[in-house]
Amino acid sequence: MIKKHDDLIVETLARLLTPFIQAFALYVLFLGHYSPGGGFQGGVLVAASFILLIIAFDLEKTTERFSEKFNVICNGGGVFIYAGIGVLCILLGGNLLDYSVLSKILPVGPEEARALGILGVEIGVEITVAACLVSIFIDLASKGENLGGS
């Protein structure tokens, strides 16, 4: 699974598909307000694109693009965005995760502020889900041998 098999068709297809999957993931994220989808589904799609790369090429080549340290930063970073927005709401005088008080720093009314807050936390969820699922897959596929941990 992590060994390199030179197969031109698979590699070319994976190369071709990856940007489309990632673009679709972003579409799912940003249109989550109007259509089915949202942070979690988009995140899984991003993770799926990286998993496709790992299966089609090999682990080293993919982790050149998506290094292990960056992966761990994204693992925590996404959740940190979510929690940070929540705590920001406390600092602005609301309760935890009360996005309507974000209108104090954004040039919109409280309802739009809620929509923007939803978008913010969805971005956080997307980052964390993508990074975490890729991280779990790398651990499973390499038996934890190729990469060292923290």
Binding site: G76, F80, A83, G86, V87, N95, L96, D98, Y99, G149
Partner: protein
């Protein structure tokens, strides 16, 4: 700002669990210090919440600013605040203890270990503080999943024990979720207080009955009551010693808290007593659990395994107190949660310290341990006293209330069970103490060299001090237990008794 204390109790350990990776890349050694600082903050915050509850009554904190049946809320009354203080105190003390033990047992995984450790505590805090039925499930799974991973890195073969826990814990959580689903089906609400208002008019319904049974069975699985205890001994004894010192006192007690919540807040107690006789079934199961756990404990030769079965026995006391559903019984159960949390933390830390020094915890190899590690073994003695129920310790008072509760309910069998289990506790604890204190190495008269003098070979201070704090805590809780009952536990008892 003090209105936001309940939110910070969750957010502070959670955000620190993320930041610990940044600190860990810089310097691994700092991660333990950070965790201690965080948990000290959490402890102070929960003291603040406790004071707030004492001054102003129940706190209701609306998350996201949405009013309760639509949004999620934190409900903090006396019971929640009490549990928060216990969890934060025990976890703070165990963290100080964990530094040396973890550096010896899993030296290459310190940073992820402490991250998971904080997330486990976040999960436990989240279960306790929330007032929403589904939210309980989410945090139950956070605590459980971090627990699986923490157990899985333990002694040889820990992964199999952890896997057993995964299977049974998932069944428990799923049964709980199914119960929530059935309640949602008939009430349309997920907020505990809102559900409690709607439910009494539906007590005749079979769906509510099914929901109650599923929720209680699911929680009993998490609580490790006797026939459902199969995961507990392996998981507690195979985990790294710092982890077993954390999960053995806290995980099952939080499940016991949840059972009290379901029993007395979501459902009214008369539902389980009069409408369906689940309370009396629970008491009988609890009685079997007490006796069976103690007998299994006697049969063990490994100290940690013996203590794990003792957890099963002691959880039976709490279930018994809940099932009796009267004032003295519930007082005994809540006091026993406090007592058990302190005692089990103390004795598991002692077991960890023995493993740290001698490398094994087979009871037969404990000869002369009393001379080598006098302070540690004295703490163990206090823990054993509390477990047996000898007066100055806290265990005496909780057992006393449980016995009074059984007498109030006119259940003489349970009085006999409680007294018998004390004797069984004496057997298995004093066997350890006998070997450690009184069993000498047989004098060898044909020796030519003089005996080597016993040297004090005590555990390092950072392990010894937490053990002694816990032992002192047991004694202090025993001495001040009337005050604890008067100021806190008295208010937990629902007015319907």
């Amino acid at each position: 700002m003090s209105a936001n204390y309940p939110a910070f109790i969750i957010m502070v350990p959670f955000i620190s669990a993320l930041l610990i990776f940044v600190i860990g890349w810089w310097n691994k050694r700092l991660s333990c210090g950070l965790v201690v600082a965080v948990l000290a903050t959490v402890f102070l915050l929960s003291i603040g919440v406790m004071k707030d509850v004492m001054a102003n009554g129940t706190i209701r904190y609306w998350l996201g600013g949405w009013e309760p049946p639509w949004g999620i809320e934190y409900v903090v009354d006396y019971l929640n605040a009490f549990m928060l203080v216990i969890i934060s105190f025990v976890s703070l003390v165990v963290t100080i203890y964990s530094k040396k033990s973890i550096e010896k047992e899993i030296p290459d995984k310190i940073v992820p270990f402490y991250s998971l450790y904080l997330l486990l505590i976040t999960g436990l805090m989240g279960i306790v503080i929330t007032g929403d039925l589904f939210n309980v499930f989410v945090f139950l799974e956070i605590a459980a999943i971090s627990c699986y991973a923490l157990i899985g890195v333990g002694r040889k073969g820990a992964s199999y024990s952890a896997f057993k826990y995964v299977v049974m814990g998932t069944v428990g959580a799923s049964f709980y979720l199914l119960g929530v689903g059935y309640i949602y089906l008939v009430t349309g609400s997920l907020n505990m207080l809102d559900v409690a208002e709607i439910l009494p008019s539906l007590y005749g319904s079979k769906i509510v009955l099914t929901a109650g049974v599923f929720m209680l069975v699911g929680i009993a699985l998490k609580m490790a009551v006797y026939p459902l205890h199969a995961w507990a001994p392996g998981a507690y004894s195979d985990a790294p010693s710092a982890v077993s010192a954390l999960i053995a006192p806290l995980m099952t007690k939080v499940a016991a808290y949840l059972m009290i919540r379901i029993f007395f807040t979501v459902f009214k107690p008369y539902f389980f007593v009069d409408v369906i006789p689940l309370a009396s079934i629970l008491t009988w199961i609890a009685a079997v659990s007490v006796i069976a756990g103690s007998i299994y404990a006697i049969a063990q030769s490994d100290l940690k395994k013996m203590l794990s079965y003792s957890v099963v026995a002691q959880i039976g006391y709490i279930a018994l107190g809940i099932g009796l559903a009267n004032e003295a019984g519930l007082t005994g159960a809540v006091l026993h949660i406090l007592n058990e949390a302190f005692t089990k933390a103390c004795v598991f830390m002692v077991a960890g310290a023995i493993i740290y020094k001698t490398g094994s915890c087979n009871i037969l190899g404990f000869k002369d341990l009393y001379r080598k590690m006098p302070f540690t073994m004295s703490a163990f003695l206090i823990g054993a006293f509390s477990m047996v129920g000898i007066p100055p310790t806290c265990g005496f008072f909780s057992k006393l209330y449980l016995i009074i509760g059984s007498i109030d309910a006119k259940q003489w069998v349970f009085v006999a069970v409680l007294l018998t289990s004390s004797i069984l506790n004496v057997i298995y604890f004093f066997r350890v103490i006998k070997i450690a204190a009184f069993e000498d190495v047989i004098p060898d008269y044909s020796r030519t060299t003089p005996y080597v003098a016993y040297r004090l070979d005590e555990a390092p201070l950072s392990m010894l001090i937490p053990i002694l704090i816990m032992a002192t805590g047991i004694l202090v809780c025993g001495v001040f237990s009337p005050e604890i009952i008067n100021t806190v536990i008295q208010h937990i008892i629902p007015a319907s008794f």
